[in-house]
Symmetry: C2
Subunit: 339 residues, 2 copies
């Protein structure tokens, strides 16, 4: 793991490469009381061309800086974080993801926490940045597709004026209760609705896409917009939109706008829903087969034998080609390895 | 400090009394990523009668259980927490708050954190409850009274359907940025407004009271209600309301309802504002002298020579008498001490 400590008085210390092991924190550490914490998630992939790649780490580094500032933790040059990630992977990537494991990945978790031992409610005067690497199971193909349960009426994930756009711990802990309830009922994740109209925002901790026929007959790929800062500016979300605009333009309208669960229900009733998927680093591109909303099931079409639908398959294929080196693309950043 | 660990498989271990020192947490511990954390704050007072007291610990214990459940941490019998607090104070209270320090207090911080080393977003399978005791400065009498700045238009502390009523870390970290901005501008705390109408909710991390003359000439003590779960059910808030209803009934209307910053501004313009104070464990009863809202100052009357006003003084006196044993009251729970 990589660690770098920070003090308000002296700034950042030189980052150190250390063996993975426990952190020592005072019981009064800011992070344990006031959730002064933020993180990122990205993956490193062993390509079919033998190369090790990370996907758009510049995006994660920039978002970590933004999240850190939002939660009153210290800021840094995003390019420095990118360098640290690459330095760590140059050492550990080859070891844990050897060349014969083409098509495999590891998960990278950069984290910033407030370590200052201070119970006074204020910005922490000491912090720690660390980067760890772990295994993570594949989550992108639950048998039969991902089933979503809409959020309970009395529970909201994020709100306008809040911090739903930042990858801070405070967005996750409070959502666990609803997710656990949904799991007990046999669903995988919550579809978080917002406001009186029930705007569709996120699916679990992933972004949410619907592909449908509009009333005018035009095919459309739709996802919630970023402008009111309710949802996370997902790297996978952004990459999907960029690829759709580049490769499906003309065939589909690509739309970022607010849309409600009632629009989804209406489209379902009129047989206009084509596909739906969740997009994120952990779940990659995960086809959605069902949405349950207040006692009613919306069944979403999938491909033959519960494979992903056409658009879902295409974007999953394109991204897979980029991350595993079947397509050379600027988004796949190659990690230098010693021979 | 007292520590008790919990595992999903085996439940709570026997609590242990340990010397104060650092905690060892894995870098993947749930609390460091997903803000699975909650806490309480209460004080122990050395009375003028020589006795050691805590104030309504049953309330804090019950709230800790509620917060713990809300943030997907394990639950427990509140009475057990109360017993642990009293056990810890029976040992450390005498030592750190000897009999000659009448009129002094220490701060007690029970905390529950998710310790499970798991990056998967889910309820932590391991947790730690600990109780620590620290010194805390007196915060209830900033020279000239507390000055509040209303929350920025693009920042909301809590929302209906959220978790503003629970004492979870996720309510604190995200509010630090606005508080730091207010401090730079010369204010002590944020007055958090909610919704289009600008409902007055909390002052910093304290509850907020206004005493005014209503348009019908009747004197009123007003504070935000608990019913939409936006604000913390403060023990001091609740105690103030109970004492007001018992001791000022007839003289003042005691009202819990939504009221807006525009109502406060109007009352100010019509010379109807009498007093205002913040109520909480950390700030105790703290008179408010000014509210700044979008470029405009509302000056709040105080007593002569910047002392608290009449109602503020009265309730501060009543509570002070209870906690320091000048009035024997069931809220002041006596800690048994060895001679």
């Amino acid at each position: 793991m990589i660690q770098a400590s920070w003090k308000a008085s002296t700034g950042w210390a030189t980052p150190e490469l250390k063996p993975y092991g426990p952190l020592s924190l005072m019981p009064t550490a800011s992070v344990l009381h006031y959730a002064t914490e933020c993180f990122e998630g990205l993956k490193v992939f062993r390509g079919y061309d033998g190369k090790l790649r990370v996907f758009r780490p510049d995006r994660n580094a920039a978002r970590l800086r933004m999240s850190s500032e939002r939660i009153s933790l210290p800021v840094f040059e995003p390019s420095q974080i990118e360098k640290l990630i690459i330095a760590l992977l140059s050492v550990d990537g080859t070891k844990w993801l050897p060349k014969e494991r083409a098509g495999s990945f590891l998960y990278i978790r950069p984290t910033v926490i407030g370590t200052a031992p201070q119970l006074g409610v204020g910005a922490p005067k000491e912090a720690l940045l660390y980067i760890i690497i772990t295994y993570m199971p594949r989550l992108d193909a639950p048998p039969g597709g991902m089933r979503l349960h809409t959020s309970p009426e009395d529970m909201v994930r994020a709100w306008v004026g809040g911090f739903g756009y930042a990858k801070v711990g405070a967005n996750y802990g409070p959502s666990l209760l609803a997710t656990a309830d949904a799991r007990v009922r046999g669903f995988h994740q919550i579809l978080w609705l917002y406001g009186q109209q029930g705007e569709c925002t996120e699916a679990g901790a992933s972004n949410f896409f619907v592909i449908w026929k509009r009333k005018d007959g035009k095919k459309e790929i739709i996802t919630a917009p970023l402008d009111d800062k309710l949802i996370l500016d997902g790297v996978t979300r952004r990459s999907c939109l960029e690829l759709f605009r580049e490769r499906l333009n003309g065939e589909y309208e690509i739309t970022e706008r607010k849309y409600t669960i009632d629009e989804v229900i209406e489209a379902d009733a009129e047989g206009r829903i084509l596909e739906s998927f969740a997009a994120g680093t952990a779940y990659f591109i995960c086809p959605i087969s069902q949405i349950h909303h207040r006692g009613k099931n919306i069944d979403i079409p999938m491909g033959p034998e519960a494979t992903p639908g056409e658009v879902t398959s295409k974007v999953k294929g394109w991204l897979g080609d980029i991350i595993y080196g079947r397509e050379q693309h600027k988004w796949g950043v190659i990690i230098p390895e010693k021979e």
